[in-house]
Symmetry: C2
């Protein structure tokens, strides 16, 4: 069956702009990965007349209709009632769902009001999807070669229900026959357009796996998605394409899937039993904050000094006054001393420093975006990375911190 | 004219789940504030046949139809062409828009390809909205008592165009007759449910102004929206309600509209010519990072010491070893010494310190969420604020930093 899918989202909170329709986005993305074409999104309120028209229009043009929301206990929630009426069928109590709901109330030590029984009603003859993160079950109902799927509105209920139950159901029904596997390759230190230029022919001639570029705050990632008969075959397709991509761009590659630069740095420090300290000027604590977001950072991070003024640079970080007056705080030599001194002061193995101009205006006559990052490792010569960044104050600070993680990673990998 | 509005969003990136339909949310929220009822959202691809059907269905049920996207230069962009065809009218070049587009290319020193002229085409007889943040103009076209409004897809073009041009246009057309004014009151140190309980009767009996509660990372805000014949009258309505609200909850109030705790703290430090220094343990740089996000922080923030390990607390912050071994790092006395010492080390007027357990596991046998914040002011007794926070590691860290700003604000205001 060739699938024309559409998504109907029910809820006045959408029409009032109180929430964004993230359910439609989530389902569309998942369906796209499964090779299912979505041609329409509709949002409508909990109004039976308007909802009925929308269901009828959807039935005329689509054969997979996924509807989210309006399965709750209140009088407002009329999605399944309205659909049952159109399909000329009845609602019936699903005992498993009813049991889940009564258990939920018992556990929460709350009295279950009568209207909650309504949540256990499902369309007669439908396949029921259990709700492991809430009360209202989902359901799938086939009618005249069309498949209707009703899912609860809250994203934290809908998303696991779709991934854990609806997806396997669609596969079992033979609606989706192939195996889909994605892999994200993460890069740093290369722009989106440069990466696309370097891989131009590969991206241009993509087929299986498909290749999508994802970019966010200075970082670029490629999502490869393979379609195959088996998981093994999908993995083989991904491995093959990854090899070709990394032959060209491997020096910017740093990790797979949900990892991040701070996480990769943490892991390597941990593995090598190394302690880090940092001296931050323009980043003002951002680098340390990103590192300490990771739980267990205490074993790899001693601490940092935020030297926002020259007085603190001189008195706390012991940067010689001559350097600050002759070369200035935004200089290669200042970054060098900051990295070395913070390493010594904090008794760490590695010191990293950040000095530069985040903007909005020049400082010490140096242009906005002028940045020096220093990395000092015990018994090694300190290395300085000068950067010229563009963008807002916020993006210059973020990019500076991320470059810090990237250069650290390069250092740590060299040492392996 | 009683308005039934609907929003049509054009773009295959919506149907592939690559972006979320934030335009529909933005427009719905704005229209709700103007008292306009939105009954449908639809998203459809750049496909003339399907788009035509959607326009026809919309024309049957709504009298204000706002369509976003598909006004660009490529062959894919067919929104205005399709609408013109349905309305039996023509497209014509708008000279002002064409001038903007050619100027744009000249400034960017790029060659304007022929297809960009297409962006200057508008529906004949339409009212044109200038695009001050991009190239494609928007337009409004009246036909049989229905008003069609076409807007560009990129949010950074659509949002200012709606606020600066479409809203006044709707008012001028008599479609929106009243004056709408919003004011946001920001609170800290009080939970959303407590605020709602304290203001229960006021929120329950709201009419004009309407009252909406907004909550985000430990902070609560109330948005009051008044409707009146004149701006002066709307302001009077807001003033009156604000007075009643602050009589009950004034001690948690800290600012209006788009302000933030770090911004209010910065302003007060600046006004009082005071310098701050901070010692961070569990927040790991987050407090400093939030403060230095604000440009010009150099004049009120000397710097900070991130003392993530006990060794750094002892050797850099000079916390006596006895304190660390007897009371522990997570203690009132440690917070006190951290605040006092960082103030002295950084030669600041005020020192603030953060120590505690962000989790996920206990530390020093103290529960996750145990936090001490210290504030030391020259020639004054140091004050300690103990907190017991709940939530994830991330939210405990964020709340701790925000409480730091809140307590600082209280101190600074007391001194006024």
């Amino acid at each position: 069956m060739s699938l024309n899918a559409e998504i109907i989202s029910v809820g006045s909170e959408l029409l009032l702009g109180q929430i964004c329709n993230t359910n439609a986005q989530f389902l569309s993305k998942e369906l796209a990965m499964l090779g299912v074409n979505v041609y329409h999104h509709t949002a409508v309120g909990d109004n039976p007349t308007r909802m009925k028209t929308i269901f009828e229009q959807a039935s005329d043009r689509s054969n997979l209709i996924i509807c989210t929301g309006g399965l709750g206990p209140t009088q407002d929630d009329v999605t399944k009632e309205t659909l049952a009426q159109i399909l000329n069928t009845e609602l019936t109590t699903n005992e498993v769902a009813l049991h889940n709901i009564t258990t939920f109330f018992k556990r929460a030590n709350r009295i279950m009001t009568e209207n909650n029984r309504k949540q256990a009603l499902v369309i007669e003859g439908s396949h029921v999807f259990a709700n492991n993160h809430g009360m209202a079950p989902g359901m799938a109902y086939k009618h005249n070669d069309k498949l209707y799927i009703l899912l609860p509105g809250p994203p934290k209920e809908l998303q696991p229900m779709f991934l854990d139950e609806v997806k396997p159901y669609l596969q079992k029904q033979g609606i989706i026959s192939h195996f889909i596997l994605s892999r994200v390759l993460r890069f740093y230190g290369i722009g989106e357009s440069q990466l696309e230029t370097d891989l131009h022919d590969i991206i241009e001639n993509q087929n299986n796996p498909s290749i999508a570029t994802l970019a966010s705050s200075g970082e670029v990632a490629l999502r490869l998605t393979a379609k195959a008969e088996t998981e093994q075959e999908a993995n083989r397709i991904l491995d093959q394409k990854e090899k070709i991509i990394l032959e060209r761009t491997g020096k910017y590659f740093y990790g797979y899937d949900a990892t991040s630069l701070p996480l990769e740095v943490s892991k390597l420090l941990e593995q090598n039993n190394l302690q880090l300290a940092c001296a931050e000027s323009l980043t003002g604590g951002l680098f340390s904050q990103l590192l300490t977001q990771i739980s267990g950072a205490g074993s790899i991070f001693n601490g940092g000094i935020i030297s926002y003024t020259n007085e603190v640079k001189e008195q706390v970080l012991h940067i010689p006054r001559e350097i600050l007056t002759s070369e200035g705080a935004i200089s290669s030599i200042c970054a060098e001393k900051m990295a070395e001194h913070v390493r010594e002061i904090m008794d760490a193995d590695i010191g990293i420093s950040f000095t530069g101009v985040a903007g909005p205006s020049k400082s010490e006559d140096k242009e906005v975006g002028t940045v020096f990052i220093g990395i000092s490792i015990k018994d090694q010569e300190t290395v300085i990375y000068p950067l010229n960044l563009i963008g807002s104050r916020d993006s210059i600070r973020k990019n500076t911190a991320n470059y810090g993680f990237y250069y650290l990673l390069k250092h740590l990998k060299k040492g392996e």
